[in-house]
């Protein structure tokens, strides 16, 4: 009797132990399978969401240009079909690329903070926030995402410091995978001289890259040493149907400081703000807005030109800013601001403000932060922003908590 009881106890204990071991073994497999299903679903959702954003202009379809708050979110250019994005809708996305800019009690979305002399600050109240986009897309509280839209072709333009007596610009054109060898370059050059700062000289030209995607342009009649001359250089490159654009503006810091432009609204109000070094020094400026056609020609329709000035800003004299009004064009364009201090030193500088993403090849980072999230699905599309090749990458993660492993 006792032996039978012990036999039962041992067998039962072993059975329960074995059962637990097997349950845990199956549990691992089941959890892995469930996790796979969740992640697979997330990847499918990412794919769908990216197409949804890219192939839909939003409601109203012209929300990017009109300044209206959208009630449906989408970035497709309403004038085109397929994967063509609106440069103006992109401009209105609240940037996650860098620190927010702050001026006079107002926060601005920072797409470009003077990188290579290019500025794009847009008042945050004019922007579409990540929260609003999430709500409109129906992902609020369920999924987080980050949308990155960056040029496919990276056009880097730098001054060659080894050219002492003239300006030499080195251009490097790199794609995602390889240099763009033999690419044709078409460029626009706006320049001023500190001795005649009121006059903006315009030049255009062509060049091509070598086998390494490199080109060097010489401008023998320009000498930028001691900030005596300034320029805005915009280049469009193309090869085999692939188009890219890059820029460089000589945003020199004069002894009276610089000018920082802030875009106030979608109607074309731009604030030119004195960023002083010496608060008592006035900075003179001129500004011209150029409309850029789709074939990279300057069309002067609707151009703002206040070069009959000069106007001035002077932080120390109660004139810290100047309100500029442009007529936003359908095709996009850019504002060139040249500034100088009228004293014996004769220093000058120039900055450029694009009206629309894609005009000078800026990138947009929009959305939340995936740091600390469990698993992130990504997908990619090739898109065109007014003819310039961009890549749209969407990273998507679930906000519903679940463990990565059992």
């Amino acid at each position: 009797m006792t032996g039978s009881t012990i036999d039962h106890l041992i067998s039962l204990t072993v059975f329960i132990g074995a059962l637990l071991v097997f349950i845990s073994l199956f549990n691992q497999t089941l959890q892995t399978a469930i996790l796979y299903q969740r992640q697979r679903y997330l990847a499918t959702k990412c794919n769908d969401l990216l197409d949804n954003i890219m192939l839909n202009p939003g409601i109203p379809s012209d929300w990017g240009e009109s300044g209206n708050v959208p009630i449906g979110f989408g970035l497709q250019d309403p004038k085109f079909t397929h994967y063509a994005l609106s440069p103006f809708s992109l401009m209105r996305l609240l940037s996650f690329a860098g620190n927010r800019a702050y001026y006079n009690g107002t926060w601005y979305s920072n797409v470009s903070w003077g990188v290579n002399g290019g500025y794009l600050f847009l008042r945050e109240s004019e922007c579409v926030s990540y929260d609003l986009a999430s709500k409109l897309l129906g992902t609020n509280g369920t999924y987080g995402f980050r949308l990155t839209i960056m040029p496919t072709v990276n056009v880097t333009i730098v001054e060659d410091q080894s050219a002492a007596d003239h300006l030499r610009l080195n251009i490097t054109v790199i794609g995602q995978n390889s240099p763009l060898a033999g690419a044709s370059i078409k460029y626009l050059l706006y320049r001023i001289s500190a001795s005649i700062p009121n006059f903006v000289n315009f030049t255009t030209g062509m060049a091509s890259t070598d086998a390494l995607g490199f080109a060097s342009l010489e401008f023998h009649n320009m000498n930028v040493s001691q900030n005596k001359m300034a320029y805005v250089f915009i280049a469009r490159v193309s090869a085999g149907g692939l188009y890219g654009v890059g820029y460089l503006a000589r945003n020199a810091v004069t002894n009276a400081g610089t000018i920082v432009p802030y875009v106030e609204n979608s109607n074309g109000t731009i604030l030119l703000v004195h960023n002083p070094v010496d608060s008592n020094a006035a900075l003179h400026f001129n500004a011209s807005f150029y409309v850029l056609s789709s074939n990279f020609q300057i069309a002067n329709g609707g151009v703002l030109n206040i070069t009959s000035g000069p106007w001035l800003v002077n932080y120390g004299d109660g004139k810290p800013s100047f309100v500029l009004q442009i007529q936003p064009p359908n095709n996009g364009g850019f504002l060139v601001v040249s500034y100088w201090k009228e004293d014996g030193k004769n220093e000058c500088g120039m900055v450029v403000v694009p009206w629309g993403i894609g005009i000078i090849g800026l990138s947009i980072v929009f959305g939340g932060d995936s740091a600390g999230q469990g698993w992130v699905a990504t997908d990619i599309r090739q898109v065109a922003v007014r003819g310039i090749a961009y890549q749209a990458r969407l990273a998507l993660w679930s906000l519903e908590s679940y463990e990565m492993m059992g």
Binding site: T32, N47, V153, N177, L242, Q382
Partner: protein, 442 residues
């Protein structure tokens, strides 16, 4: 001891079950969890390369042209480093109504397409070839062929909110005039009176014409008809007269939105302080429900009697384009939204009260709600045997009108053909197949 042996046996069985289940429960490889959508990537790559029609130019160049090298560079530059490609171009040949694809050129940057691949095809047309479609003119092989668009400057519209009758008339002209032998804008009510008397405005054929009323629920009335007996019953008698004329001249009368013949309008005659539609639009008189009944009386050759004042319609909510209309949308390349809201769908039972009047075309699918069947948008023929004597196209949608629906309705009914140039003309079309593959990883 026996129990222990049994348990060991059970453990062996369960272990065997686990091993067997594990053998079949093969989890997918990591790359399958979140695969890159290669098909979309390939399609968008070709689209981007063709943004400025560069791809369309390059694929028609000979294989030794330097442009092919540019295309190779562009493909390498726009694809991620772990993606390889193979691009193949085929000439599309047409022989005996059969399409043949003849290999032209193939470029690739790898011997194989790696561990996973997908492909997409893209048809490009030569920039040297233009394609066009010539529409058949309604009436060019038979009777009719005139399109009258009521664009009367001395009339006001209702339920065309946001538009003017003039802008709608212009849109209709642009959409439909290619399909008609003659298109005439009826510029005022005097001109309307002329055609109602049977007098052509120029050299057009008045019989078998199409008359589109762009004024929504209001219909223009010439001054000469602003008197008895046409003014009887708040001008319902005039609507009866319109129905009569539609029958006599075998017109197709098109009402673009709302309740047809609900008002009559003439800003030159209705100038009194109360001559408004009760919503503050002056220059019109409300006929109300009687207008439609009276028109149908006239259309079906019933002598005028003071019509009913009950509703002939019902609000049925969201309705869908019929399959015939959708087919026409594809054929003619006109794409209004397939779903619309109908608040003036006409009751089938009311239509049946009129002899020889049948709905011969449904622009929108009829709706049944248990109380009856309703036609949100249909074309009604008055038939005497095989002969048609007058038609009415009534789109009982809510405001604001989408004028393309009227165009789709009329084109669905008349079915003018489109003579398209051959898209697969020799040396005019090439098929580009881009295959992408993933290299690296597992």
């Amino acid at each position: 001891m026996m129990r222990t042996i049994e348990i060991v046996l059970v453990i062996i069985i369960v272990l065997w079950a686990f091993v067997t289940a594990s053998f079949f429960a093969v989890l997918p490889s990591p790359r399958e969890v979140s695969p890159l959508n290669l098909r979309r990537l390939a399609l968008t790559t070709l689209e981007v390369l063709n943004t400025n029609y560069s791809l369309s130019e390059i694929v028609f160049k000979p294989p030794d042209d330097p442009a092919w090298n540019d295309l190779r560079i562009a493909l390498s530059a726009c694809l991620p480093p772990n993606i390889v490609y193979s691009l193949t171009v085929y000439e599309v040949l047409t022989e005996n109504e059969t399409e043949l694809y003849e290999l032209c050129t193939s470029v690739s940057n790898a011997e194989s397409l790696g561990i996973a691949s997908d492909a997409v095809s893209y048809l490009v047309a030569s920039s040297n070839v233009s394609f066009y479609a010539i529409p058949e003119k309604i009436g060019e092989h038979g009777v009719g062929g005139t399109l009258y668009i009521l664009n009367c400057s001395d009339a006001r519209g209702w339920w065309i909110t946001g538009y003017t009758a003039h802008s709608l008339a212009q849109d209709l002209y642009n959409l439909l005039s290619p399909y008609f032998t003659k298109t005439i804008m009826v510029q005022n009510t005097t001109a309307l009176g002329k055609i109602l008397r049977g007098e052509p405005l120029s050299d057009e054929i008045l019989r078998d014409a199409v008359v589109i009323n762009t004024f929504g629920e209001a219909v223009p009335i010439p001054t000469e008809y602003c008197k008895a007996p046409y003014s009887n019953d708040n001008y319902a008698r005039y609507c009866h007269f319109l129905g009569n004329m539609t029958r006599i001249y075998n017109w197709t009368w098109a009402s673009i939105v709302g309740y047809p013949f609900y008002y009559v309008t003439n800003t030159g005659y209705f100038t009194g302080p109360n001559d408004q539609n009760s919503w503050g639009i002056f220059g019109m008189i409300m006929v109300a429900q009687r207008g439609m009944y009276a028109f149908l009386q006239g259309l079906t050759n019933i002598a005028y009697v003071t019509p009913d004042t009950s509703n002939i319609h019902k609000s049925v909510g969201v309705v869908s384009l019929s399959s015939q209309a959708l087919e026409s949308c594809d054929y003619y390349g006109i794409y209004p939204s397939p779903n619309q809201t109908s608040t003036r769908a006409i009751s089938k039972s009311k239509i049946q009260n009129y002899p020889n009047l049948n709905a011969s075309l449904h622009v929108f699918d009829p709706v049944s709600d248990g109380e009856g069947i309703y036609y949100p948008g249909s074309l009604y023929n008055h038939r005497i045997g095989a002969r048609i004597e007058g038609s009415l196209l009534a789109l009982g949608l809510t405001r604001t009108p989408d004028i393309r629906l009227t165009a789709v309705g009329l084109l669905s009914y008349y079915k003018p053909r489109l003579y398209r140039s051959e898209y697969t003309a020799s040396n005019a079309t090439r098929l580009v197949v881009l295959q992408l593959g993933v290299v690296g990883g597992v």
